[in-house]
């Protein structure tokens, strides 16, 4: 047994690309040798088992053993946090499992939007912040200025921040020393009723769901009957133990202050909700740990297989991803234009992109995705309230009393010379200005209230291009707000294409409809007949374009010898058509459905 005084629970927080993962790798490497020598016998079985099954443990928490300069051995539990605003809630639960956080700041970039957002989150959990300045060996490094930024902007002492290069392994040991020195050991009462915070979970085909927890009070043992306090579901603990860099190490007991895994033949990640409290089924804790929230989707999109025959494959793939991702929601939907597919709910844009990319890369699927939507509240004239995340389900205007849309609080950090341009962008996206603060002499934080549906199109790209990549951006849900919204429909050859409809603010409907019609004209190839493209709001045409009929597509010369060559040409043409969607009698390329994302306003 080891003493609780020798435990340190911490996370690493950083803006994207500031070197969080590289630092984590270095910490593992530096402490790994000791871990391996001492633990080899115990973990060997474990590892072989995993190798046999081809499992790779999702390393979202890992215990490192470090022999500090004071001569003592410390158990450092590193809890990983997802680095993006979409996963804010998950980040906050991971931080709640810690006593401290290592804040990595890029020596050249300095403090950015996510640096601040994550630091504020850490402050909210009363974490001890250990600032670290990374990439000091890069030519643009300005460590002294960044130290000053840390003091001025964050308000913590930056003077003693280790100056490191995670990439080249410079000064990593100093980080470990600071962790031991500055971060307090965990508190908690081993003799109180069990309270363990779930901060992550992972689905294993053999063991069921593996819950990653921080034991706050009490003790956790195999054989215990446990209860998830939010969901109420109960399980018998099969195994508990530690998460090591190269596998899991079973233990007889885990007590307050420690980070551990639990397996309990749990079949669904839905039963292991991040933020929930684990207690014993009898004589359990009276109150759950604070901060639990039901995870809610913020962004929705229709996902369809490019090849309709792969619908079942798509469903299987989504189900597999959902095993490990409680935040992913999906249900079957049908589109006249796209056939059978799924309406999926995501935490945010990044989450959506990750899922789409995994479906394509890991499951080898070709997808057609519709424009993302947010969830609108429709208050109908009969008083009922409807949630609409698919424009197709929006009721007739005559049935609508009013509508509400989600508003987010957006924080944009930028060098001051781009302020004007960003304000213009935000205003164009219906943002309302809250305030602006100078972080230092050069940098500004702009705060805006913005409709989420203005952000999910191409806001981030627009922001990057206006600021040459210098601005960073963060947002969080604020409220639902009454708004004058309309459904914009696109018609091809007089027929409405359901998958192209979207909900938009009334004043933005005309420019968007026009852009959309222009874009469709670009992407729809000429056909046998002229194809009118129309944008309509409530049956009224607000924009129109025309794809002219094809004028020439012919094999001029075709005689005996070259029939097979001509045949190949037609076959190729037919293959091209396969990638098209038949909408009425119009052939529409798959990318047309995504083109709404790139309107480039």
């Amino acid at each position: 047994m080891y003493s609780r005084d020798n435990i340190r629970n911490f996370s690493i927080i950083a803006h994207v690309d500031h070197g969080k993962s590289t630092l984590a790798d270095r910490l593992l490497e530096l402490t790994g040798a000791l871990t391996q020598r001492e633990m080899q016998e115990q973990i060997l079985d474990n590892m072989e088992l995993e190798r046999e099954r081809g499992i790779t443990i999702k390393a979202r928490a890992v215990r490192l053993i470090y022999k500090a300069k004071d001569g003592k051995e410390y158990y450092l539990n590193l809890i990983d946090t997802p680095g993006h605003v979409d996963f804010n809630y998950e980040v906050s639960r991971s931080l709640a499992a810690c006593e401290g956080a290592v804040l990595v700041v890029d020596a050249a970039q300095g403090i950015e939007a996510q640096t601040l957002a994550n630091t504020y989150l850490a402050f909210e959990h009363d974490l001890e912040i250990v600032p670290v300045i990374n990439k000091i060996d890069l030519p643009g490094a300005r460590p002294d200025e960044v130290k000053q930024e840390i003091e001025d902007i964050i308000g913590i002492d930056g003077e003693n921040a280790p100056l490191i290069s995670a990439k080249n392994g410079i000064n990593i040991e100093e980080v470990l020393e600071k962790i031991v020195e500055l971060i307090p050991p965990p508190g908690g009462d081993e003799n109180a009723p069990l309270k363990a915070l779930i901060f992550d979970s992972y689905y294993d085909a053999y063991k069921g769901v593996i819950a990653y927890v921080r034991v706050v009070d009490g003790r956790l043992r195999p054989g215990q009957r446990i209860k998830m306090m939010a969901t109420g579901s109960e399980f018998d603990v099969v195994d508990v133990g530690y998460l090591l860099p190269n596998g899991m190490l079973s233990a007889d007991e885990i007590s307050a202050g420690e980070v551990a895994f639990i397996t309990a033949s749990i079949k669904s990640v839905q039963d292991v909700k991040v933020g929930d409290t684990v207690t014993t089924a009898s004589k359990g804790a009276a109150e759950a740990l604070p901060g639990y929230k039901e995870v809610k989707s913020m962004v929705y999109s229709g996902i369809y297989p490019a090849d309709g025959a792969r619908y079942d494959d798509l469903r299987d793939a989504l189900e597999k991803l959902k095993l490990n991702d409680a935040a992913l929601n999906f249900e079957a939907e049908t589109s006249i234009a796209l056939g059978f597919g799924f309406r999926c709910g995501f935490l945010g844009l990044l989450h959506m992109e990750i899922i789409q990319e995994r479906l394509e890369r890991e499951f080898n699927l070709d997808l057609v995705t519709t424009a993302p939507s947010v969830e609108y509240k429709v208050i109908k004239t009969d008083g009922t309230v409807l949630s609409v995340d698919n424009p197709t389900n929006m009721p007739e205007p005559s049935e609508i009393d009013y509508m509400e849309e989600p508003i987010v609080r957006a924080a944009i950090l930028t060098p001051k010379e781009y302020v004007g341009s960003i304000m213009e962008l935000c205003q164009g996206r219906r943002g309302s200005y809250i305030d602006m603060e100078y972080l230092d002499t050069n940098r500004v934080q702009l705060n805006y209230m913005m409709p989420l549906n203005e952000i999910i199109y191409d806001f981030f790209d627009a922001l990057k291009s206006r600021t040459r990549g210098y601005a960073s951006f963060d947002y969080e849900f604020e409220k639902y707000q009454k708004s004058d919204l309309v459904k914009l429909d696109m018609l091809l050859n007089g027929e409405m294409v359901d998958a192209l409809s979207f909900i938009v603010h009334k004043e933005r409907a005309y420019p968007r409809g026009r852009k959309m019609a222009e874009k469709l004209k670009e992407v729809i190839p000429r056909q046998l007949f002229e194809v009118p493209i129309q944008a309509a709001v409530g049956g009224k045409i607000i924009a129109r374009e025309t794809v002219k009929a094809m004028r020439k597509d012919v094999l001029a010369k075709c005689y005996g010898g070259d029939i097979s060559r001509k045949r190949k040409l037609l076959e190729k043409q037919k293959e091209g058509k396969k990638r098209m969607r038949q909408v009425g009698s119009v052939e529409v390329p798959q990318e047309a459905f995504m083109s709404v994302l790139k309107l480039d306003e």
Partner: protein, 375 residues
């Protein structure tokens, strides 16, 4: 109906757009080549078959000694049962044929002459690499008439670099004044491996765009119709009764036997072809080779698709009765989906007298229709 095709892969000079199997500068091989062709004909496993058309194409058949062509025709007659009144065509380049040559060919039994004129504009002719002037063509045409050719076809091209609508109309006017029985009018297609392709990729060649090209096509159809030429295939026009019987065999998926370098055959359900290169071909034949590696293919769905996309090239379209006779199946069943779409929904096809055909206004975008008939 069965046709015989014989390929003469020699030219004085390759044209800038040509990607056919033909070579310049090796005409000294023509005698040994001719011997090889005759040997292939004599050893054909389809000997004594009844033959309805004979076609000697190229390359430029008239650029070699006409005696070779005459010997080839003689050996065809000797080895096959060439029908009385068979259509016997030879292709000709105006820069390579004089009265004497044409007269000899006519006397030997060739009864149809296909002359490559391409344009009546000398500047264009030069630009596309032709070796003759329009004056040469006119002389050739008159010589052919004097030699007794009563069935003459003229090849023309449009969509040429720098060609205007006016130049095109002028060519049509000058050609129709001469009154050939048959006219083929092809749009220039820039093929990989040709000098034009290289020029185009370097940005040194500009051809009329698709809209202008279409105008030229519509012009030729209308212009020739007014002068008594029917468009019986996408790019082919003739006076009544002068359709190319040989080419109709291709478009109706009939039988043809090919002799010579790179010649394709489709006979008795077999498809095969000869080696492409001239020396390869000569070596192959002289070492006793026989171009027949293809196994017999049963009429299958692929063949039905070919039958459709070839037949739809014709103004008369494809006959439901002929289809049933040939394949034992209903065309309307096999091609239910594309027929429904194109006949009833977007109406690019029409049906009359048991035939299905492409409506004339969609002829020039027929790939979009035919590709739906590839099942």
């Amino acid at each position: 109906m069965t046709g015989i095709y014989t390929h003469i892969p020699f030219c004085i000079k390759k044209c800038a757009y040509c990607d056919f199997n033909s070579y310049s500068g090796i005409r000294d091989m023509s005698y040994s080549y001719g011997k090889a062709v005759i040997s292939e004909i004599k050893n054909s496993p389809y000997k004594n078959k009844k033959i309805d058309t004979v076609y000697i194409g190229g390359g430029t058949p008239t650029c070699i000694d006409e005696k070779i062509l005459i010997d080839i025709l003689a050996s065809v007659r000797e080895s096959f049962d060439v029908a009385e009144g068979a259509e016997i065509t030879v292709e000709c380049n105006p820069g390579t044929a004089n009265f004497k040559k044409l007269h000899a060919l006519r006397r030997a039994g060739f009864n149809r002459l296909s002359i490559g004129c391409q344009s009546a504009d000398d500047k264009l002719l030069k630009k596309i690499g032709r070796i003759h002037t329009f004056e040469d063509f006119k002389n050739c045409f008159r010589d052919a008439r004097r030699a007794g050719f009563e069935n003459i076809s003229v090849d023309l091209m449009f969509g040429l670099p720098g060609q205007t609508a006016e130049i095109w109309r002028d060519t049509l006017r000058k050609i129709t004044e001469l009154g050939p029985e048959h006219i083929s009018a092809y749009s220039l297609k820039i093929e990989e491996g040709t000098p034009f392709f290289e020029m185009k990729s370097r940005g040194e060649l500009s051809v009329p765009d698709d809209d202008a090209n279409r105008e030229m096509y519509d012009t030729v159809v209308e212009f020739l119709k007014d002068r008594g030429y029917c468009r019986y295939e996408i790019s082919n026009f003739s006076k009544a009764g002068f359709e190319s019987r040989h080419n109709l065999i291709y478009w109706t998926l009939g039988e043809y036997i090919g002799f010579g370098a790179g010649a394709h055959s489709f006979v008795c359900g077999r498809r095969f072809s000869d080696p492409l290169g001239v020396s390869d071909y000569i070596d192959f034949i002289s070492s006793g080779g026989r171009a027949e590696d293809g196994a017999e293919t049963e009429p299958d769905i692929d063949m039905m698709c070919e039958y459709m996309f070839l037949g739809l090239r014709l103004d008369r379209g494809v006959s439901e009765r002929e289809f049933k006779k040939r394949f034992g199946k209903d065309m309307g069943e096999v091609f239910k989906k594309p027929i429904e779409k194109h006949l009833n929904v977007i109406r690019t096809l029409e049906s009359s007298g048991g035939n299905i055909k492409i409506r004339p206004e969609y002829t020039y975008v027929s790939n979009l229709i035919m590709s739906d008939f590839i099942l």
